[in-house]
């Protein structure tokens, strides 16, 4: 079994055993019905008392063959409004960047918590999209309004 697969099985086991409150993460099923461990669908809940609360934001996590030597790629739906999310939805975060802070020991749990943290604490040094970045740096009120509108779109089912 490849290192990537072994590690992903362990991640799945650990996730089932202990995952942060309000999050979900599961591998998608391949065409033949088996689980494709290299692609996961997950939900990141907005932290309480922030603009992002009350919603769970969907992401897809793609693990490359070289994982855990290389980091996974995490994508929100295209057009997701956040200064550090590219228009394609890809997350720009140092722990997901091989040449920055990625380390093979970083777990799925740490990744999703890192993304949850990023939602309400954008990194001013890594703008990834213009609309959110511009509003965040120049017009906070407009930014907050947009984030709240987005939260309604992904509002929790209950």
């Amino acid at each position: 079994m490849s290192l990537c697969r072994t590690r992903l099985q362990e991640e799945r086991k650990q996730w089932r055993k202990d995952h942060p409150f309000g999050f979900y993460a599961k591998p998608v099923k391949a065409a033949d019905g088996s689980l494709d461990l290299t692609q996961w669908t997950a939900g990141i809940p907005g932290r309480s008392n922030t603009l992002w609360q009350g919603a769970t934001y969907p992401v897809t996590i793609y693990f490359p063959e070289e994982y855990p030597s290389k980091p996974p790629r995490v994508k929100f739906p295209a057009g997701f409004y956040h200064p550090n999310i590219y228009p394609s939805g890809t997350v720009c975060l140092s722990i997901l960047n091989e040449s920055q802070d990625w380390r093979p020991a970083i777990t799925l749990k740490q990744i999703v918590i890192g993304i949850q943290e990023l939602l309400d604490s954008p990194n001013p040094n890594s703008p990834a999209q213009e609309p959110a970045w511009k509003a965040y740096s120049k017009d906070k009120a407009a930014y907050e309004k947009k984030v709240r509108e987005q939260a309604k779109k992904y509002a929790n089912a209950m």
Binding site: R16, K134, A155, A157
Partner: protein, 1004 residues
């Protein structure tokens, strides 16, 4: 006594006392600095010794701390004699403390002194290899040693602290052997001896704490050395002896502290280091916990299933936790043995514990503890299915019995949790809502796993119960909570399955039965404003969203009308959160079942009118409804009918907006939100009008022809009303002229049809789009530039072959040249402009290369962009220059033009000089954006670029560069010939000229 530099002992004592009493942070900080310098000085040990002799507790504590600091600093300078003398000195203090004031009052200081001894052991285990023995021996000869009980207490505490401190250290490979050979033996002997001694419970509690420290330590020692403890029999036996309920009767309220601690230690062992239990001990623990007539059975009858449960909540939780952790270590065996007689009792016990009475998260948490266990239990059957087949390969009958028993157990588990997730009364639920809903989500995951094993019979069981309960709903409204929990599980399983395989759902038959049972009528009679039904409606709504696969089919479509009639009042009369949730479901149903919803457009129209006129309706709901409605009417496919409806719809929006605008000439936030929501609705309509799939799959060739010619003429004037509303929102209404959001929406409306293959309601001729843009730019500020440029970009990307140069020139004059100075003041406008030019150069360079404005302004503008600080500008600037150098889509004429510009008119030199200068001055994180320009220049102009680069580096007038060095640098760059290796060379040059070093490099 003089300490140093004139500080007297009295002043040090005074400092220590102030340190622990002052509330002034500045004073504390300065005291800390001063005292720390004393602790670290050559007088550190002396100071510690003196302070330990004081009567003040503060001084003694600081003295004990000072020993630790001094030992850490001077540890390499100690001789063997120093170590022994220090050990005696510290132990002497411990004995004196016990003798003068007893154990209790000085425990904090004694613990710190034990840590100091541990430090000496860690650094000098050769000289001081057996701290426990030395302590014990000295204790024996000391006059101050206190009672026997105090002796045992001290040794147990020391034995704990010693291994806890060693566990915190790194690189301790060799010390583990010393501990095993010396210290462990003593601990083992003490624990063994205690069995026969009549010591009070507090000593036993201390012993269990000590064992707990050793359990963790042993896992550290075994991971970092070759030492193996295997199963320390005496210690394990001591634990078994402690697992007794001998002091407790049914009505007793005596503490279960000893049992509780023993359970925790066994859990720690099972979790951290199960190897500490050999086979025999594991069997013994198994019997104790899970066989009749042993501790577990007694504990359950006397505590878990008695009135004492609430009182001993922690103990019960720890008992269950131990069972779970213990069994999880060997789940495969547990699952393999389900047919065996011995498993029947065990599974019964586990199920009884799971099924403990009470509402989860309110009255009990055991079922929550068991959730992950059961999910793992079920997943073992799924993941190891092949192993089970092999086990029963020669006994097919037994395998079938095995599968039946497996399904029986899994069904029982499901049955328990099915009951558990019934919503409690509203008032009880609210305080624990988040936890309870999370619990339910865990139960849903369990059911999803169980479905993988039991498959459709599980689904059938749920749907049959739902139908049965629905029949009784009219007589008994309380049934709604039973129905809700079943509906919740059906929705979760359905959603999960359809998420993975939306087109092949096996649930159609069962979902059909649910609808046929009259569920919609029964639910329609319930009130949406009843608080207790709040969750019921959410679940019902989510269920509907999960069964669109059925509703879009032949059988399902007959229920669509009733569903809409149920959902619409929820949007109008429910809470905002319910209305939002319902609007999402409605959108999904309308998008997926659009064809079948055509007969119901009148119902939705009425809803649209209501939401349009009522500014209080949430903007997202309004937009979703317009999108829903448009998704349906698109399937009319008849452009005449669609045209009429679209005109009517957009005209209504126009009138509503115009009415509000004429009554309010100034802006306020509420008004702005409402108006933006209206133009967003047009955006949603435009998006929903996009042909949803391949055009040939949506329209026949004949239909395509009819649609195309209809929209070319547009007899229903839809395009006219669209342009009017766009004008109204972005040009005519003064408060919105500089509203970037409104402009963005208007541009998006025009953008939506640009890519369509045939004419449609939102596809406009390029000239009309450009005319609008010219008018818009005349009244815009720079904030509106990005969406305007983005629209131009989309038009060019899709229509570059149809655009005339003159038309583009006119547009660029208006949107770029005439606004040049304003553009330069806004980095986002610069970015948008450069991006647009890069796109044109990549698609059809001749469109702009020949324009006068290209050489007069665009090139200069993009040259200046090279030195921008913002990476979002440098990125498109790089794209622009790469496009102009490579000219991939350029004609021969374009190539000649640019080559001439670069080689004979100084353009190449100018670019190189700006590039080199900007690159050297740029931030490290932006370097990657410049590399492609260098590489393309080197590749395209290999001969000329050497001269350009030499001149460019020379023009830097950099203090670290001379002619010779410049020549070396340029040669290195040239050798790369524009290959990838250029990145490393350029990076090194950047580092060198900026006097910096490479991260992760050892060359510094």
């Amino acid at each position: 006594m003089e300490m140093s530099e004139g500080r007297s002992l009295a002043s040090v004592i005074n400092h220590v006392e102030r340190l622990y009493s002052s509330r002034n942070p500045t004073e504390v900080n300065s005291l800390q600095i001063e005292l720390q310098s004393l602790q670290k000085s050559e007088y550190g040990l002396e100071l510690a010794n003196v302070l330990m002799g004081q009567s003040s507790a503060n001084c003694r504590f600081f003295g004990a701390l000072t020993y630790g600091v001094a030992i850490n600093i001077r540890r390499d300078n100690f001789s063997s004699g120093d170590v022994i003398s220090l050990v005696n000195n510290i132990e002497g203090h411990i004995f004196r403390l016990i003798s003068s004031e007893g154990l209790e009052g000085n425990m904090v200081v004694i613990r710190k002194l034990f840590s100091d001894l541990s430090l000496l052991f860690i650094f000098h285990s050769n000289t001081y290899p057996d701290p426990l023995k030395i302590f014990y021996d000295n204790l024996g000869v000391s006059d101050d040693a206190g009672s026997k009980e105090a002796w045992i207490t001290l040794i147990l505490i020391f034995a704990s602290i010693l291994v806890e401190d060693v566990s915190k250290q790194e690189n301790t490979t060799t010390i583990h052997k010393v501990i095993y050979d010396n210290v462990f033996l003593k601990v083992n002997n003490i624990v063994t001896g205690l069995v026969d001694l009549n010591v009070p419970p507090k000593i036993h509690l201390l012993t269990l704490d000590c064992i707990n420290s050793w359990v963790y330590y042993i896992s550290v020692a075994e991971a970092n050395s070759e030492v193996r403890y295997d199963c320390p029999k005496n210690i394990v036996n001591y634990l078994f002896d402690s697992l007794t309920l001998s002091g407790i009767s049914d009505s007793s309220n005596e503490s279960l502290e000893l049992v509780n601690k023993t359970l925790l230690v066994f859990t720690e062992i099972s979790d951290m280091n199960p190897r500490m239990l050999d086979r025999e001990s594991k069997l013994r623990l198994h019997s104790s916990l899970l066989e009749p007539g042993h501790f577990g059975e007694e504990f359950m009858s006397k505590v878990v299933f008695s009135d004492l449960r609430l009182e001993y909540d922690d103990e019960v939780g720890n008992f269950v936790n131990l069972i779970i952790v213990f069994l999880q270590n060997d789940l495969l065996n547990l699952t393999k043995q389900i047919l065996e007689q011995s498993s029947t009792y065990k599974i019964k016990v586990l199920l009884s514990l799971t099924n403990i009475s009470g509402i989860p998260m309110i009255d009990e948490t055991l079922s929550d503890q068991f959730l992950t266990f059961w999910e793992d239990f079920i997943n073992t059957f799924i993941d190891d299915e092949e192993s089970f087949r092999i086990v029963f390969e020669s006994e097919p009958n037994k395998f079938s019995k095995f599968v039946n028993r497996r399904n029986e157990v899994v069904s029982e588990i499901c049955g328990i949790y099915w009951n558990k997730i019934h919503l409690p009364p509203f008032d009880e639920l609210e305080p624990v809502k988040v936890e309870f809903l999370q619990y339910r989500s865990g139960v849903a995951d369990l059911f999803i796993a169980a479905y993988s094993l039991i498959s459709l019979p599980l689904y059938e069981r749920l749907t049959s119960k739902l139908i049965y309960d629905t029949y009784t709903l009219e007589e008994n409204k309380n049934m709604s909570l039973d129905i809700e929990s079943t509906l919740y599980l059906i929705y979760k399983i359905t959603e999960d399955y359809t998420f993975y395989d939306p087109d092949n759902s096996p649930f159609g038959l069962y979902v059909g039965k649910i609808f046929e049972s009259g569920i919609l009528n029964s639910f329609g009679n319930l009130s949406t404003s009843d608080n207790t039904l709040k969750y019921f409606y959410f679940t019902f709504n989510n269920f509907l969203a999960s069964v669109t696969f059925y509703l879009k089919g032949e059988h399902g479509k007959e229920f669509l009308g009733s569903i809409l009639r149920l959902l619409i009042p929820m949007i109008l009369g429910g809470s905002t959160s319910l209305a939002l949730n319902v609007s999402k479901t409605m959108l999904k149903i309308c998008q997926e079942c659009s064809q079948n919803l055509i007969p119901f457009t009148a119902d939705i129209e009425a809803l649209l009118v209501e939401t349009l006129k009522n500014p209080g309706v949430d903007a997202l709901i309004r937009q979703r409804l317009f999108s829903s409605y448009t998704s349906i009417i698109q399937y009319l496919k008849n452009p005449v009918e669609i045209g009429k409806i679209l005109f009517h719809m957009i005209n209504e929006i126009y009138n509503s907006a115009a009415k509000v605008m004429s009554a309010n000439t100034s802006n306020n936030e509420e008004l702005e939100d409402y108006l933006i929501s209206l133009i967003s609705c047009v955006c949603q309509i435009a998006r929903a009008c996009e042909i949803p799939e391949e055009i040939d799959e949506f329209y026949t060739p004949e239909e395509q022809e009819v649609v195309d010619s209809y929209w070319k003429e547009d007899p229903s004037n839809v395009k006219d009303i669209i342009l009017r509303i766009i004008r109204l929102f972005s040009i005519d209404f003064p408060p919105f002229v500089h509203n970037a959001t409104s402009t963005e929406k208007c541009c998006n409306i025009l953008k939506s049809g640009v890519r369509e293959d045939i004419n449609g309601p939102f596809k406009f001729p390029i000239e009309i789009i450009f005319d609008y843009l010219v008018s818009k730019v005349e009244v815009s500020d720079t904030g509106s530039i990005p969406p305007i440029y983005s629209l131009v970009e989309t038009v060019i990307v899709t229509n570059y072959n149809k655009i005339e140069r003159e038309v583009l020139q006119n547009l660029i004059d208006k949107v770029f040249t005439q606004n040049l100075e304003a553009l330069k003041s806004d980095p986002y406008a610069i970015k948008s402009a450069v991006e647009l030019f890069a796109v044109i150069l990549e698609r059809k360079p001749s469109l702009i290369l020949g324009l006068p404005v290209f050489q007069s302004s665009i090139l200069k503008f993009s040259l200046e962009g090279l030195s921008a600080n913002e990476n979002f500008i440098i990125k498109p600037v790089s794209r622009f220059w790469v496009a102009i150098i490579s000219l991939k889509k350029g004609s021969e004429y374009d190539h000649t033009l640019i080559r001439d510009l670069f080689t004979t008119r100084g353009g190449g030199q100018q670019l190189c000089s700006n590039l080199v200068k900007s690159f050297i001055l740029s931030a490290r994180s932006n370097l990657d954006y410049y590399y492609p320009i260098f590489r393309n220049l080197l590749g395209k102009y290999p001969l000329e670029s050497k001269t350009w680069f030499l001149q460019a580096f020379h023009d830097l007038h950099h203090e670290k560069l001379n002619e010779h060095l410049t020549s070396i640098i340029v040669n290195k760059i040239m050798i790369t010939r524009g290959q990838r290796s250029a990145h490393d060379i350029l990076k090194k040059i950047w580092l060198q000229l900026n006097g910096l070093i490479e991260f992760n490099s050892k060359n510094f």
